[in-house]
Point group: C2
Chain length 392, copies 2
Amino acid sequence: MNGSSLALRQRSLGDASAEFPLFPPLTRGCPLTSTSEIAYPLEVVYDYARVDGSLFGQEPGPDIARWSPLLPPLDAPTLGEGGTPLLKVGDVYVKDESSNPTWSHKDRLNRVTVSAAVACGAPGVVVASSGNHGASAAAYAARAGLRAIVLTSADSPPAVQAFTRAYGATVMSVPTEKRWPLLREIVDRLGYHPVSNQTVTHTGHPFGPEGYKTIAYELFLQLGEVPAAVFAPTSYAELLYGVWKGFVELRLLGVAGRTPRIFSCEPAAGGPHARALATGAPAAIVEPGPSDAYSIAGPVGGHRGVVAVRDSGGEAVLVTDEELRAAQRDLAREGLWQELAGVAGLAAYRKLRRDFDGPVVCVATSSGFKDIGVGSRRYPAVEDLTVDDLMS
Amino acid sequence: MNGSSLALRQRSLGDASAEFPLFPPLTRGCPLTSTSEIAYPLEVVYDYARVDGSLFGQEPGPDIARWSPLLPPLDAPTLGEGGTPLLKVGDVYVKDESSNPTWSHKDRLNRVTVSAAVACGAPGVVVASSGNHGASAAAYAARAGLRAIVLTSADSPPAVQAFTRAYGATVMSVPTEKRWPLLREIVDRLGYHPVSNQTVTHTGHPFGPEGYKTIAYELFLQLGEVPAAVFAPTSYAELLYGVWKGFVELRLLGVAGRTPRIFSCEPAAGGPHARALATGAPAAIVEPGPSDAYSIAGPVGGHRGVVAVRDSGGEAVLVTDEELRAAQRDLAREGLWQELAGVAGLAAYRKLRRDFDGPVVCVATSSGFKDIGVGSRRYPAVEDLTVDDLMS
């Protein structure tokens, strides 16, 4: 749409001097710096000197290919991801990612990772996911004419199970502990391209956060300035790091003069990034307690989230399910129905009660249709309802 | 956003010489031409001579206020409706309206009708709906700080019931035959503004289709030309008429040189517009048989759909549930999961097998999450899944 990719190579987040060719994507983390306890992800380096300044003169809209110079090659077709609304709700802005093609932010990532699968000539993609990521990967694979295997959980909400299965992928519920060994074997034996994590701490796909950078570009154009702070639901922190990197690039390119503080927003029942930041570790693994924010309540953190929060001057915020539920209810009363995990940014902002010297953005990631319990209740007809009943 | 509304007055579709002030919206149809058997809707007339030609030089995007000169006054805030993706799928373009704030096209209508409620000083809105329309009205009312009463059906899919109830509205399941008398009483006694129909054949809200005009504007800009044909799921034909009127305006304003053929796409189990067009009636009521496309399978048609199809040189197409299911499955295999009713446009295009002298657009109206049966099935974990199982 706006010229071809200026991506040059991969670079380790464990050691910036460790660089690798752009392909193949190192989906098992940095081979030089990772240890048996901490895996370091890769990021993508671009030829920034060649970026045309007019790139940020355009309007946001569907199809992230409008940012193609600052993305890895987009060999998979679009489903219309990006260009989501930004709404003022109370004293914050809410970026509504539920308007994406599969109704979550994950579509920005999967446009990029499924493109990598196409570029690599893989016969399909494989993903371990209990919800949004799996369905989004299945949708983009279908659109690209690739097969998809989704290893999911029998505990996913039934409506989400229907969603994940809608796109023609091979979807199998498997016990959680068997998901990752099976995923690795599918990669090794079938040659499928992995679009979810394979490492001890999270590294995921090195190209994934690049898709999320487009949220930063859109926010800058929608606000007309860089926000003072961004709060985002945080699981593996690919979203968080992508948003951070997008703003870093805007400053690097001279488009913007500052970067926002980035806040990781995790369920209090777990919070691997909060743990890592508190202990000074590059990444952490925790034993999470129960949380209904199932999309972001995993045990495994990654180094990307630590980098985004630390380098931006942000903080890790933990929110309880009760705080999430209050934010979810209040946001719905403003016309935005989000999955419980999707409001972690707003819940964390409200909990922190901090003043900022500029706009604050809470990224809301996913539709309320994906929540636990949706569809579990029927409401019988009230046979003799009268207007007087409604007035009382 | 782009200047204030140029709406002047209401005009009857029963007699173009019958004109009325813009407010109050005549939500019970044209008082001069309607009979006990056929109700005629109103439309909105604008001061077209004052439309700035630069209006169509802008990009589509969220918030239909960008088209405010050609809409009734937008006194209710946006949720980011509009700016939805247009995707090439096979030999047609699919306009994916599931990317709207409540994941259906209805948001374009409700931005406009809830605005009318605000402008009228109503304490709330009332709507009779089994799904998308009710939830969307509830969301826009919540955003505008108005109360909402949704009279819905106990037969709606459970996930849709959760959706409708999410936004804080008073939602009551009532027997179908009691919905409309109750709605009228709520309007008369509580002063609530009705955003759904109150008349014998459908007239609905006179401002409603104005919101759908923005689909025509977007299609023109996204395609760079007027399509040869538009196929859209048809229930009351507010969408169909709105799209038609938008293209009529583009031609009237000299922006475009032609208009598309408009095809009403109804379930074969009913099809009041097909009936009216076949018999030459201004509108019709049928006794529908069973259909799982519950969003568009009602008995009552309206004059708007007859006008759009007849004046555009289009046709009425009826599709069976089997044809809908095939289109739904095939579209999901391209990465777009739609409600069964949402693919009626595509199913009708495929059934018609007609060649057109230009691009064909099928409007896809709503997310697959809203379908019957979604969430009714659980998939147990496969304990001993192996890669060999996946290869076989």
